[in-house]
């Protein structure tokens, strides 16, 4: 049996602008370091890392072979890229709804945008622990809609002239 080299501290992977490191059988978010590909990596070390990553992810040898036929990228790149994609998908599943967060930038004034988005995110992660991710997402969307009403309502009233009419007749 071929003897494999001892791996270096961690394998870095880049995906969707984010960096991940595979270390001790786990893939985690990495710090701001260089790209994932290490020049001069020996064939035996690549194989050892493949075994580690494939073992951790449950990737079959057939799936890797299929990918290799279609592409010129190395085995390691495919496995690492799949692993990173899975982590990105998992983290996106847990993050607040992006569309709703984008709406905040549309209606909230610049001076309250940062604190409002921060508060909504803090409330979201509290709710994830308390009521679960699905209900937390709906709560987040509701809060964004309520904020839209709070910020846009007075502007629409002022623009339409309704506020002036109400003020004239004593209703504020």
């Amino acid at each position: 049996m071929e003897k494999v080299a001892k791996p270096s501290p961690g394998l870095e992977v880049r995906r969707n602008g984010r960096r991940f490191v595979f270390r001790d059988g786990k893939m985690t978010a990495a710090g701001p370091k260089s790209g994932w590909y290490e020049p001069g990596l020996s064939a035996s070390e690549i194989k050892y890392r493949e075994q580690l990553v494939a073992g951790a992810l449950g990737v079959t040898a057939d799936a890797i072979a299929r990918d290799l036929k279609r592409s010129t990228v190395t085995r390691l790149e495919i496995i690492a890229s799949n692993a990173a994609a899975r982590i990105v998908a998992e983290s996106e599943k847990r993050s607040p709804p992006k569309g709703a967060a984008g709406l905040v930038a549309f209606f909230a004034p610049v001076k309250v945008r940062e604190q409002l988005l921060g508060d909504l995110e803090e409330a979201y992660f509290d709710n994830v622990k308390r009521i679960g991710p699905r209900a937390a997402k709906w709560s987040y969307r509701y809060q964004v809609a309520a904020a839209a009403v709070a910020f846009l309502g007075p502007r629409i009233l002022a623009w339409s002239g309704v506020a002036a009419v109400l003020k004239r007749f004593g209703a504020s």
Binding site: L117, D119, E122, A123, A147, P154
Partner: protein
């Protein structure tokens, strides 16, 4: 100078800001109002009122620290000013205690 009027919700926000002390930011204030009144209050509504109160000089604000749960965004911490306390002082406790009917005699007055 005529005293500036405070709306009911403005007074609630001001009271909650005072109750939160040094850690008064939008979410904490909305939670304090919820705890006091039992009503769900949106953070956006709290910020519109806080902005108005700041313009009136009832509160002042400064940037707070970044925490990991906020996605790297800072808190905006509010503190009630002397003018805000003065505006609030006749109202403190007004929502907890119902108004006495006209002509009612206070207990122990006879």
């Amino acid at each position: 100078m005529a005293r500036e009027q405070l709306g009911v919700f403005e007074a609630e926000v001001l009271r909650a800001t005072m109750a939160c002390g040094t850690d008064a930011y939008g979410l904490a204030i909305s939670r304090a109002i919820e705890a006091e009144t039992g009503r769900t209050v949106s953070v956006g509504a709290v910020y519109t009122v806080l902005d108005r109160l700041e313009q009136k000089g009832f509160v002042s604000s400064r940037w707070g620290e970044v925490t990991p749960t906020r996605g790297g965004r800072r808190k905006r911490l509010y503190i009630i000013s002397a003018r805000g306390q003065a505006a609030l002082s006749p109202r403190v406790g007004s929502t907890q205690r119902p108004a006495e009917p006209a002509g009612a005699v206070p207990v122990g007055a006879r």
